[in-house]
């Protein structure tokens, strides 16, 4: 390889062949280059990467080829978020069909149980099945509202979705393995999507520990909203940890272990730690339980001016690991609050609820906000300042300004 070229034209073959320091990354040969599709989109700025070219471009904001969120106004008209509208946030490249192979032969092992076993997807499907609805939300959803400018995708409200997952309860598999070994404190799930990259597991393996009790609600999902779990969402098998932030819902799942200690990989030990601005370290809490949260989805500043008269203020609310109990809406920036009404079916405590407040607005500008409670906690007014911009549930930043004419 030529050093210090001013107008380089370095293809990957030369790069891999000519650079000793890349030898450790030899398996990058199997890494799939991204090419952009001429997707159907309205803003004319960015298409969708090929691996998710089936998504609904009009519903999405593209931060990067690996960070794509749902427009605020594309959430909430239906209770469940259609797959084509669900956000994308990947720590590792999505595995390809070729890398996955025969989906029915996909294997997951169980360790830290009395009789460690490995199951294929076909075997799992024969052992049990159920469906649950959960809110899937990136730890950094709302990062875009932090004023200190934390690095990472500048998510507003749309790194979140409400999804039906079909799969097998982890509890069924724990029973099939003779129960959890004594001394376990955590359920530790590991993906295998780092393997094709050739990067060291301690740096790149998405392995996440959650408190052991989470296994009682957890599911190994192979189906998302009625279709086989797309590769881009972790197919063919994903750990679902209801009420816990997205990162704990490990994609391309290869192993579930009940462990005495938390995983020591980077994604557990140092990433996803909620530390004060200017500080970092594994002594700070990790992104586990989601706090109670809500936001308005209609009308918003995305949906244009609103006609004076009767107005339906619509949104979504969820309680984290507890059922959401109530939502209040303010049209004057939080001075006065009115109780909103839940609408649509209740899909359980881990799903979100749609809410509506019917009100009458005359011409003018309004700041509309929503404030949810799960009976134990309610949304704070302000964000919890932290270095990486995680876990934002303050109602003020999530309010929207609308103009009524």
């Amino acid at each position: 390889m030529k050093k210090s070229k001013n107008t380089p034209n370095l293809n990957r073959r030369n790069f891999l062949a000519g650079t000793a320091s890349v030898a450790g990354l030899a398996a990058t040969a199997s890494v799939v280059p991204i090419t952009f599709a001429n997707a159907n989109h309205t803003d004319g700025s960015k298409g969708l990467p090929d691996f998710i070219n089936w998504k609904n471009r009009d519903a999405l904001i593209v931060h990067s080829d690996k960070g794509i969120e749902t427009h605020r106004s594309a959430i909430g008209e239906g209770l469940i978020t259609p797959n084509a509208n669900v956000y994308i946030r990947n720590n590792m490249p999505t595995m390809s069909d070729a890398q996955i192979g025969d989906r029915n032969n996909w294997k997951v092992s169980f360790e830290g149980v009395n009789n460690p076993k490995s199951f294929t997807l076909a075997e799992l499907k024969a052992m049990g099945t159920t469906t649950i609805a959960t809110v899937l939300q990136c730890s950094g959803n709302g990062r875009g509202f932090f004023e200190h400018g934390p690095s990472g995708s500048q998510w507003q409200t749309g790194a979140a979705a409400c999804v039906f997952w079909t799969g097998i309860p982890v509890k069924t598999l724990v029973d099939a393995c003779g129960g959890i070994s004594s001394g376990a404190n955590f359920m530790t799930s590991a993906g295998v999507d780092h393997e094709p990259t050739g990067l060291a597991p301690k740096d790149a393996m998405v392995e996440r520990s959650v408190p052991k009790k989470v296994y009682e609600d957890a599911l190994l999902a192979w189906d998302m909203n009625g279709v086989p779990l797309p590769n881009s969402h972790g197919g063919p098998l994903r750990m679902i940890t209801p009420g816990y932030f997205g990162i704990n819902n490990v994609k391309h799942l290869g192993k579930v272990a009940f462990t005495a200690d938390e995983s020591q990989v980077k994604f557990m030990k140092s990433s996803y730690r909620i530390s004060p601005i200017g500080k970092k370290g594994s002594e700070y809490p990790t992104c586990w339980e989601m706090p109670v949260k809500s936001w308005i989805t209609r009308p918003t500043d995305e949906t244009g001016t609103v006609k004076a008269g009767k107005v339906q203020i619509v949104g979504v609310a969820f309680g984290g690991t507890r059922k959401v109990k109530s939502v209040k809406v303010s049209v004057d920036g939080g001075n006065k609050w009115q109780k909103a009404k839940f609408i649509g079916p209740d899909l359980g405590k881990f799903a979100w609820r749609q809410f509506v407040l019917e009100t009458t607005l005359s011409a003018g500008t309004y700041n509309i906000a929503s404030l949810a409670s799960n009976g134990k906690d309610k949304q704070p007014e302000l964000r919890m300042e932290n270095r990486r911009g995680y876990a934002h549930n303050g109602w003020k930043d999530h309010s929207v300004n609308i103009t009524v004419v």
Binding site: M1, K3, S4, K5, N6, P8, N9, L10, N11, R12, F15, T19, S21, V22, L25, T28, V31, V32, P33, I34, F36, K46, P49, V62, H63, S64, D65, K66, G67, N91, M92, P93, G149, S151, G152, T197, L199, D203, A204, K266, F267, S271, K280
Partner: protein
Amino acid sequence: ADEAKMAKGLEIFNETAVCAACHVLKAAGSEGNVGPNLDTVAVTTESVTDIVTNGLGVMPAFGEDEILTKEEIEAVVYFVVNSAGK
């Protein structure tokens, strides 16, 4: 753009730090697919300096862990900011 600085930044991108292994950047001819495609993200000197220095997710902390010197970080950031999306 300062051509000497660009050349130095390119060398660091492709060889010293091997950013190319994980990122697409047309100007460097790189096609790595672990981190975001740098031609698709909004890059500023401030944000790229922060991420290169402190790391993010699987990305190493090139500054904090002393993989690159301050001058090298400045050069690679200059190269990325002046070539991303072009």
